[in-house]
Amino acid sequence: MATARSAEGSTSSDSGGEGVRRRDFLNVAAVSFAGVGAVAALAPLFVQMSPSQDVLALATTEVDISKVQTGQGIKAQWRKQPVFIRNLTPKEIQEADAVPLSSLRDPETLAERTKPGKKNWLITLGVCTHLGCVPLGIGEGENKGPYGGYFCPCHGSQYDTAARIRAGPAPKNLFVPDYQFTSPTTVTIGAKG
């Protein structure tokens, strides 16, 4: 070690000029190489937390809607989240269409929130956009709130018949997931189209 230290002390052959010594360069290079390696080693520790392949495999759910009569609704499950599938009555559709868009917190028409020609099928996540509770109103006899849609029991958000936010702390309408009518009586939630 004594020889190495003394070699570094001599200014003639080893110094790279401008005050940067060969030893400094080697030191920085070696430590940065180890640092890059350490950061690379963190990658698996990070990605292991994201949804695993078996969770992603649940990306679509098929639901049979043949038994859902006008005015009824069912709860389905998609990616472990509740999905509200509601067969609106003509009166509910009319109510939703009668609301002027300018009065809405998150302006969207019922037509934009449903598929063409299937305006009676309102399919939304049953997850309140405030803090994620499941609103009431899909089941028979549940509190639908003053706007006839959904009412969240946690913090009192009120949704209308198109599941749009009308009053309460929630910022957005109930989320409409990707879905597709794969047959007249089957809807595939999570499928784009």
């Binding site: 070690m1 001599s10 698996p44 695993s52 392949q53 078996d54």
Partner: protein, 439 residues
Amino acid sequence: MSFSWAKPYEPKHPFMRWLDDRLPLPRLVYGAVGGGYPVPRNLNYWWNFGFTAAIFLAIQIVTGIVLAMHYYATADGAFNSVNQHIMRDVNAGWLLRYAHMNGASFFFIAVYIHIFRGLYYGSYKAPRELVWMLGLVIYLLMMATAFMGYVLPWGQMSYWGAQVITGFFSAFPVVGEPIRIWLLGGYAPDQAALNRFFSLHYLLPFVIAAVVILHIWALHIPGSGNPTGVDVKDERDTLPFHPFYTAKDGWFVGLLLLIYAIVTFFAPNYLGHPDNYIPANPLATPAEIVPEWYFWPFYAILRSFTFDFILPAKLWGVLAMFSSILLLFFLPWLDKSPVRSGSYRPVFKRFFWLLVIDVVLLGWAGGGAPTPFRNAIGQICAAYYFLHFLLILPLVSAFETPLPLPKSITDSVLHGEEAKAAPAGTKPRRAKTATAVVE
């Protein structure tokens, strides 16, 4: 902590001074593994394995915490959670699992070399008896942790390992069988045993980490030993831990991590037993049942008692296996030679290497199916193991004439090589050369 010339911590930045007045944590680190810990200047590569073992403990804790996020400790789900869910579904799960599995082996490799380093250089002798004994406590905790971890994948080897190891306790008369049932929470390994093993497997590594802190604390009172076994006499004999030994440990750990990565990526199952990829079956024991490689020597000692002699053979085997480790706690008093380093003990040195061969042979005897030949070798080696510590070592330390020790560490490093060690272009001057290095 240890020597008067240890450089005191002098924070330069105002914030560090502010912090030092309130919580002197950087001061503690500086004194423990920084420039404030003077270390003998002559450490060879055998002294790198303590640091390496600490790195592998850290790897095991980190990968283990992450694996516990994906593992389910249920008798019907554990096998699939490891071999299907973690290996196939979890992102990078295969890597984390193999890293943990082989990390255990590498932790043991590092620790075994560390222990044999201690045996050769007399690291257990005064004033470092407690360092040695705390090390043995760490080793015992490691064995318990490794065993319980091996049970978690709930394959055939896991299951029958749990059955056999808890069966040790049934060797003790009267209380043995109730203790075994209490440990398992049943009559055979099942849900209760798996759950408690998981809980303890998660707990013990942190206990190990705590004992490691005590181990290092106790070490830093007298300071590190060195290959000559001669005490540090003055500042010329030491170098600050940082940057000298952080650099040396750092590159050496890099080298070992390279080997670890090669095994983990290209031969991840080389050190394991294929039968552990068969789900646990309480109705059939695998044809050949052996523990992981790091337990083979002890397994050989366990198997070497094949006949009853006053006590039943089963009890002898269990007692011998436990005492083979407990014996090491008495080592500081079994080896009374005042010379620490095996390099200056010609007779001891030969017996040391004989012990290494003996333990390797024990490993071979414990790692295969019990044929008569293998058993015979195992019995001879087990007998020799005890003979070494209980008879040979005390006798050697009483009768051996050690070689003359160097006057000091510096003297041993610069034995007649002053010219080579002196700074280029200067005349060799013994004392000055050494101090120049420290600055």
